[in-house]
């Protein structure tokens, strides 16, 4: 394996560069996936049937907590990658752990939010609006859940194997994924919650 030392560790082999480009292309596909979900949501948000309308079920507090927690986690993973570039393994692991804990908080609040919807009669089956809402949020939440497992695997590997071109590459790609989920959340926050509460 040829290692190019003029590049950061995560870009230092050809396979690493392929992985990063491939993941960017995957994120392109993910943008289409969420764009389709948003399209469905915008088409169906007014079609509430006999169920509640957006403004009747949205609550600002849990949403603000989720937003704050997820945005902070995007910042901490950025710090994690910065620490990785400086070769400071322990600092990086700490920031990654904080990131995942924030992700876990996010998920906990989102589960609470879903239970709240269920209790006030906005279930998956209630109307086209609730189905589109819960599918969009649920797809994002499923991504976060997968990310929690994936991130844990990466922490374990960095801990055991140290910062190698391979583990650095995985960590960097994971950070791209995590930032992407944050970007999607900003759209969800602005165009689903804020728009719905106005």
């Amino acid at each position: 394996m040829h290692i190019d030392n003029s590049q950061p560790l995560e870009y230092s082999t050809q396979q690493n560069q392929l992985n990063i480009l491939g993941f960017w292309i995957f994120l392109g596909a993910e943008i289409m996936l969420f764009a389709t979900l948003f399209t469905a949501y915008f088409t169906l948000e007014g079609r509430t049937g006999s169920g509640p309308a957006p403004a009747e079920i949205f609550e600002i507090t849990p949403v603000l907590i989720e937003t704050l927690v997820l945005l902070t986690s995007s910042f901490t993973i950025g710090l994690g990658i910065h620490a990785m570039r400086l070769g400071r393994k322990n600092a990086m692991l700490t920031f990654f752990t904080i990131t995942l804990l924030l992700g876990l908080c996010f998920l906990g609040v989102e589960i609470y939010e879903f239970m709240h919807y269920y209790h006030i009669g906005a279930t998956y089956q209630t109307s086209a609006f609730t189905a589109a809402l819960l599918t969009t949020l649920g797809t994002h939440g499923a991504h976060v859940t997968l990310g929690l497992f994936w991130g844990t695997f990466i922490i374990l590997q960095v801990k055991k194997r140290g910062l190698t071109p391979e583990t650095a590459n995985k960590s960097f790609i994971f950070s791209l994924y995590w930032h992407f989920l944050d970007v999607v959340w900003i759209f969800i926050f602005s165009f689903i919650y804020l728009k719905g509460m106005m």
């Binding site: 491939g22 996936l33 169906l44 049937g49 189905a131």
Partner: protein, 648 residues
């Protein structure tokens, strides 16, 4: 017993029971044969665990040919049922199931693997790479396709086939009107193979962008690689739409959500829109690689470089952009209003412009060329006029006001078969014949190949041109019968005769493979067609590492330059080569996906959850695995090269 009742066929017939027995016997035969000839180990080591793009390509090829016969059997049954007025061969329900599976099998499980076969076989060789960017992901793509295809194909003997058309429009495809599990099969099988296609898209884009041999700029890529690249870009942007649509369709059917229903706010037209936002780019995913193959074949057998290289590239880029802007033309009659219809009419007609540019480029490539009418060239030459007719009728259909006359008639059926058969199927057969010697070491018999060509071409014209007439006269598609008073009888009989000729044509392909395997010369060298691009510069059969030394690229026809203009293709010393290891995980994941899909189809939640966990375990194993591949030593490479007839 109650548990097993869900697996019963809702509309049984003797033919289906016969198929069940046949499937069981063939499966037992294969298993017994593998055991008797002690081939299990060989199968596992060489095929099930392989990550070699050439072997994966061959597996796609074999699957595509099998599915061609499955879809072809559906087709011949439909044509037989329509061959005379008031036929009693099939009832309405069977006819519905058959036209549905014919469409899905031919598009998703025949044409898609066929183009993936060529992308896998050719692209890494054309760009001088050792393999694709993510060889193991490539294997996973194949096994997901395979799992989806198998899942779809067992539907007619377990639980019943989908019957809502290959477009599966809601509310027809909803639980109220499609009560059997058939449409669940549709949703899950296409979902699984679609995920595989998306991964191939990402894999191929990365490969083509990052793994080209030194000197090969984007505008020096061979035309097939260009077409594959653009098709894969379309895959990356179109397939996620299908993923979401199928997910929503699945939850509507399994969890009683209201995306596409007619009450509680559901909107059935949302499905139609999503389906075609994927579906229209999908037809360009199929046709662009076909254009790429024709470009390679026409320039090889005209002994001329491709006319208008950069206009070929730009026309494909333009087609790929326009392909996302025309989806509404599939349902002009469904009430969008005049303004929307007009806009989509214009975007649709605009696609004829870049396509026309390509047609003229092929014609100018042949102009004053030294044309050799080999089998691949015959297909290409027949393609040009036949495809043009298909294109012109497409522009007719694109006129939204006039479309009210032909919407959902046999005219439309004639149109899209007129583009898909001479466009895609002929290209696949031309490519099959053209690239066969590269991968199997012998040329398919030209005489039998020409018989096949004429059977298919004459059969195609007889089968589909009469439909233009009956369609304009008002024969609706998807109707299982018609009365004598309509006067459609004679033309439909002609169609049946054409379909029968095509069926014979496809059988002759199988015979040709068998005949040539026995009789063809194995002494054909590595360049039997006097071809032009890089895939012909290495040995036949292609060694696993493709090129012993990385080729140096001078133009889009580097190999031709090296033959005629003294360009030095291979420079420097042979070095150690790094290759990826085989892995059983992709195959295992494919099988688990099959179980997961099956469990969801029948709402068996326990196995569904277990198999989903199994999929995540496979992913976790991949994450923790330390796999650095292996190295082929210089000595080994030199030995292989000498065995194949001299170092390259």
């Amino acid at each position: 017993m109650e548990f097993l009742e869900r697996f019963a066929i809702p509309h049984p017939s003797p033919a289906i029971y016969a198929s069940m027995v046949a499937i069981a016997l063939v499966s037992i035969g294969i298993l017994a044969g593998l055991t008797y000839f002690k081939k299990w180990g060989y199968l596992w080591r060489e095929w099930l665990t392989t990550v070699d793009h050439k072997k994966i390509g061959i597996m796609y090829l074999v699957s595509a040919l099998l599915m061609l016969f499955r879809g072809g059997a559906d087709a011949i049954m439909m044509r037989a049922q329509l061959s005379a007025p008031d036929m009693k061969l099939l009832d309405a329900q069977h006819y519905n199931e058959i036209f549905t599976t014919h469409g899905v099998v031919m598009i998703i499980f025949m044409a898609m693997p066929f183009i993936f076969a060529f992308m896998n076989l050719i692209v890494p060789l054309q760009i001088g790479a050792r393999d694709v960017a993510f060889p193991r992901l490539n294997a996973l793509s194949f096994w997901l396709f395979f799992a989806g295809a198998m899942l779809f194909n067992i539907s007619f003997v377990i639980g019943g086939s989908p019957d809502a058309g290959w477009t599966s429009y809601f509310p027809l495809a909803g639980n109220d009107f499609s009560e059997s599990v058939g449409t669940n099969y549709y949703m899950l099988a296409i979902q699984i193979s679609g995920i595989g296609s998306l991964m191939t898209g990402i894999n191929m884009c990365t490969t083509i962008l990052k793994m080209r041999a030194p000197g090969m700029t984007l505008m020096k890529m061979p035309m097939f690689t260009w077409s594959a690249f653009i098709a894969n870009v379309i895959i990356v942007f179109a397939f996620p739409v299908l993923t979401v649509a199928l997910l929503m369709g699945t939850t509507d059917r399994l969890f009683a959500t209201n995306f596409f229903t007619t009450d509680n706010g559901g909107m059935d037209m949302l499905w139609a829109n999503f389906f075609w936002i994927w579906g229209h780019p999908e037809v360009y995913i199929l046709i662009l690689p076909a254009f790429g193959l024709y470009s390679e074949i026409i320039s090889t057998f005209s002994k001329r470089n491709l006319y208008g290289y950069s206009s070929m590239v730009w026309s494909m880029v333009l087609i790929s952009l326009l392909s996302f802007l025309v989806w509404t033309h599939h349902f002009f009659t469904m009430g969008q209003g005049a303004l929307t219809n007009s806009i989509f009419s214009i975007t649709t007609m605009a696609i004829a412009v870049p396509t026309g540019v390509k047609i003229f480029n092929w014609l100018f490539t042949m102009w004053k060329g030294k044309i050799r009418f080999t089998v691949p060239m015959l297909y290409s030459v027949a393609f040009i006029p036949l495809f043009t007719i298909g294109g012109v009728t497409g522009v007719m259909l694109a006129m939204s006001a006039a479309d009210y006359q032909y919407h959902n008639t046999m005219f439309l059926v004639a149109h899209f078969h007129n583009t898909i058969i001479p466009g895609v199927v002929f290209a696949m057969l031309a490519g099959l014949t053209f690239y066969w010697p590269k991968f199997f070491g012998f040329i398919l018999n030209e005489k039998i190949g020409k018989v096949t060509f004429w059977l298919l071409t004459v059969g195609f014209v007889l089968a589909f041109f009469p439909m233009y007439i009956t369609g304009l006269d008002g024969q609706a598609r998807r109707m299982y019968t018609y009365s004598e008073a309509t006067g459609f009888g004679a033309l439909n009989m002609l169609s049946f005769a054409g379909a029968a000729l095509m069926a014979i044509g496809f059988v002759t392909i199988v015979y040709n493979i068998y005949y040539s395997f026995k009789n063809s010369s194995r002494d054909i060298g590595s360049d039997p067609w006097d071809a032009r691009s890089l895939e012909w510069a290495t040995h036949t059969p292609v060694p696993e590492y493709n090129f012993a030394r990385t080729p140096q690229i001078s133009s889009s026809e580097t190999f031709w330059d090296s033959k005629k203009n003294g360009h030095e293709l291979f420079k420097g010393e042979i070095e150690e080569i790094h290759m990826p290891n085989n892995s059983g995980i992709p195959f295992v994941m494919g099988m688990i996906f099959f179980v997961a899909g099956f469990s969801f189809i029948f709402a068996l939640w326990v196995p569904a959850v277990i198999s989903l966990i199994g999929i995540f375990i496979c992913m976790a194993m991949r994450s923790f695995e330390k796999d650095h591949g292996r190295h082929i030593s210089v000595k080994e490479i030199i030995e292989t090269e000498e065995k194949l007839g001299g170092a390259k």
